[in-house]
């Protein structure tokens, strides 16, 4: 099984985890990306959203499980063919929530290009933006090293 281990800077990443956990809690009841389900009937719609929420919650649990005792002792997180897919999806979900909750003041171009003035941000927004970048880095790492296992699974 292909596995990658990444050593993270504890002093940098640990403070971001509170934000990630807080947003992860909010994702328990709400889809990260609101969806237009068109003209489908209510019962089908409820089942559709319910199934998406269930999958989203499982993915977010896999992301949070990365930050276990080993992470707090050594700063190491590990990605493999089993957790890569849920984690890369959970990162997308949390990033969408970060955008909605903390980063809605930034325009799309600035966010896409990463051209933002950190000094002009409040502490909460700056921390949220660091989370946003951190989760993008996790996604890039997984896509770079494990995308074939995700695509073929």
């Amino acid at each position: 099984m292909k596995r990658i281990e990444v050593k993270l800077s504890l002093p940098v990443v640990a403070p971001l985890l509170d934000v990630i956990r807080q947003l992860a809690d909010g994702l328990g009841q709400k889809l990260a990306a609101p969806q237009d389900l068109g003209d489908i009937d209510q019962e089908f719609r409820d089942a559709w959203v319910g199934d998406l929420l269930e999958g989203q919650n499982k993915d977010v649990k896999a992301l949070l499980a990365l930050f276990d005792d080993e992470f707090f002792a050594e700063g190491i997180v590990a990605f493999d063919e089993e957790n890569a897919e849920p984690i890369v999806r959970a990162c997308a979900a949390v990033r969408l929530r970060l955008r909605e909750v903390y980063l809605k003041g930034l325009d799309d171009d600035a966010l896409e290009g990463g051209e933002v003035e950190l000094e002009q941000m409040s502490e909460a927004v700056r921390k949220a933006f660091m989370c946003y970048l951190f989760l993008a880095t996790v996604q890039e790492l997984i896509i770079q090293h494990l995308d074939s296992s995700i695509i073929e699974s």
Binding site: L31, A32, A33, Q35, D36, G38, I40, W48, D51, L52, G55, V88, R89, A92, A93, R95, L96, R99, D108, D109, L111, E112, A136, Q139, E140, I143, D147, I150, I151
Partner: protein, 101 residues
């Protein structure tokens, strides 16, 4: 992959045309969002639709530059299944009726 003979192929085509005529053609449209990474969107397209790198990139750029891309069209039930799967990956996707058929 096994290729069907001429007789089977014609019969399948007739059924398929009848089905499409009855239920119409539906399109799976992916809409742009400023959050998801280009590499992520490409990976999702490759996984779900089996697109090559080139085709996945073309659709991703269409989403990015034009705001939307039609990634699949066909029967409604299958279109809805694709939209559900895209939504599992947190892409914004909708099913639209293809009025041209």
């Amino acid at each position: 992959m096994t290729r069907a003979g001429p007789k089977d192929s014609s019969s399948t085509e007739t059924i398929s045309h009848t089905e499409l005529k009855l239920s119409g053609v539906w399109r799976v449209v992916v809409l742009n969002d400023p959050v998801n990474l280009m590499s992520y969107v490409m990976m999702v397209f490759k996984k779900i639709f089996g697109f090559s790198e080139t085709v996945a990139r073309r659709h991703m750029l269409e989403v990015h530059e034009q705001g939307r891309s039609v990634v699949w069209s066909g029967l409604r039930e299958k279109a809805e299944a694709y939209v559900y799967t895209l939504q599992q990956w947190h892409l914004t996707a909708v099913v639209e009726s293809d009025e041209t058929h």
